[in-house]
């Protein structure tokens, strides 16, 4: 199964925020976590994550700092801010609403589909 581009773009904010809500992290590790959590369904183009991170940083949802990594190189770590947590809660509400709407319209079919999968 491949998730379409628009959905990937729309879901990138809550996914990144949710990943960082658990713990501080950096680009590569975020990507790996998302891949594992999605059961390999979500495969972002690696490079595209960074403009997203920078946008979230500008909006004040996350905070980036350069630190020394174990590898000896500099690495930029991001952590979620309180504004980011609020945004995450808000987005989750929206996702639940969308999800509930779909389920409400097609209860049987969603069930069938998920069984078949």
């Amino acid at each position: 199964m491949e998730i379409n581009k628009d959905l990937i773009a729309a879901s990138s904010t809550p996914i990144v925020l949710a990943t960082l809500a658990k713990r501080e992290s950096y680009g590569y590790a975020i990507l790996k976590q998302v891949q594992d959590a999605s059961g390999q369904h979500i495969e972002w183009t690696d490079g595209m994550l960074y403009p997203v991170l920078h946008r979230l940083e500008r909006l004040g949802y996350i905070d980036g700092t350069w630190k020394d990594a174990d590898s000896g190189r500099k690495r930029k770590y991001y952590r979620i801010t309180s504004r980011g947590r609020k945004q995450l809660a808000d987005e989750l509400k929206q996702w639940r609403a969308v999800d509930a709407t779909i389920r409400g319209i097609l209860p049987a079919m969603t069930m069938q589909l998920s069984h078949r999968l």
Binding site: T45, D46, G47, M48, P51, A69, S71, K76
Partner: protein
Amino acid sequence: MTTPHIEQQIEQWREYFLRRKAVQSQDVAELEDHLREQITGLEKNGLSSDEAFLVAIKRLGDLDSISREFAREYSERLWKQLVVAPSDTEAGESRTEWMMVLGLAVLAALLIKAPTLFGLQIDRDWGFYVRNVSFSVLPILAGYFIWKRKLSGKFVGWVAAAFVVAAIVMNVFPFHLNGSTIGLSALHLPIVLWFVVGVAYAGSRWREVTGRMDFIRYTGELFIYYALIALGGGVLSGFMLMIFESIGVNISPVIGLWVIPCGAAGAVIIASWLVEAKKSVIENMAPVLTRLFTPLFALVLLVFLTTMVWTGNGVNVARDVLIGFDLLLVVVLGLFVYSMSARSPQAKPGMSDILQIILLVSALLADAVALWAIASRISELGWTPNRVAALGENIILLVNLAWSSVLYLKFFRKQGTFAELEKWQTQYIAVYATWAMIVVALFPLLFGFR
């Protein structure tokens, strides 16, 4: 561990990525860290380092779309920023420079007010001020370039000696305060000292065409930055006056006696630093302005000449006409020199060159007419220091523009090179310097300090 071969490839990738305007070194560093970690991970899974590099690059995605995303996020980066953020390695260095520049600007501002500490008032002791005002800013500016270029002791000695000799000449000469030679000397002194600053600016290249050309570029950019800073200063002063007036406090003496002189002095240093810091970052403004105004000036001069011929009116030799035509020649020369300074010497002659030639020739004709009228008038009225100085300047500029036109025409007809033109202009700087020196130091002697 990555092999040297992979290191080389990563280096290439970094350079390639950095070339994009919307991407900065920090972003590249972040993605490079990602790339390296990805490679290490793939190698652990059994890929060779070359394979790992290829897969990692592929997963990173197309650099064009990544930089497009960055451009969307950082639209401001597509505008070259006036106050550049220095990269990590340069940050310390540029902070030292900034402190130095700030210190020097404050020093220049203090120096211009220093005479008041000794009870010298500008209205009462204007003779002192007129003699010495050039020495408050220009030595500091020269000092900045000496520091910046790390010039050798020999250079420092010559530059310092030039300032000292000039200061002695200005203060030892028994000028008549009501005469005109004191004004002429004071007016030409900054020109002389400006060329001394030029020696400090160009350093060891001060005799070379490129060094002098850089100094010409610097002068033009400085003029523009200075005008911009002055504009901002004017707005600030206006607001200060207004808001203090609203609470019944009149601060116009403070502005007149402190803000304007100190600001004007300090701004020279700050503007110079800006030109230095920005020269590789943003487009030079002087050539852009000249490109805009060259056709307009050429048009005005052509219409002027046609009107003069049509109506048969001669030039009316009023008092300031000579000065006016001097200034016209200076402007035309400026337009010419600055469009020249930005022109690639290899470029083939084109439309803008035709415009330049029209501008040069029409300015020459207009000036020749005026000069003819004035020369006949001077022979009736006699020689005064002001007339001799103005006439001398006119002739010097006329000679330069005439020979420039000849060289330009030769270049246009492919009988000469553009480099000859540059060489002529840069060597001619010595003529201006010499003439300014003559006016400062010999005119008072020739005209008995009157």
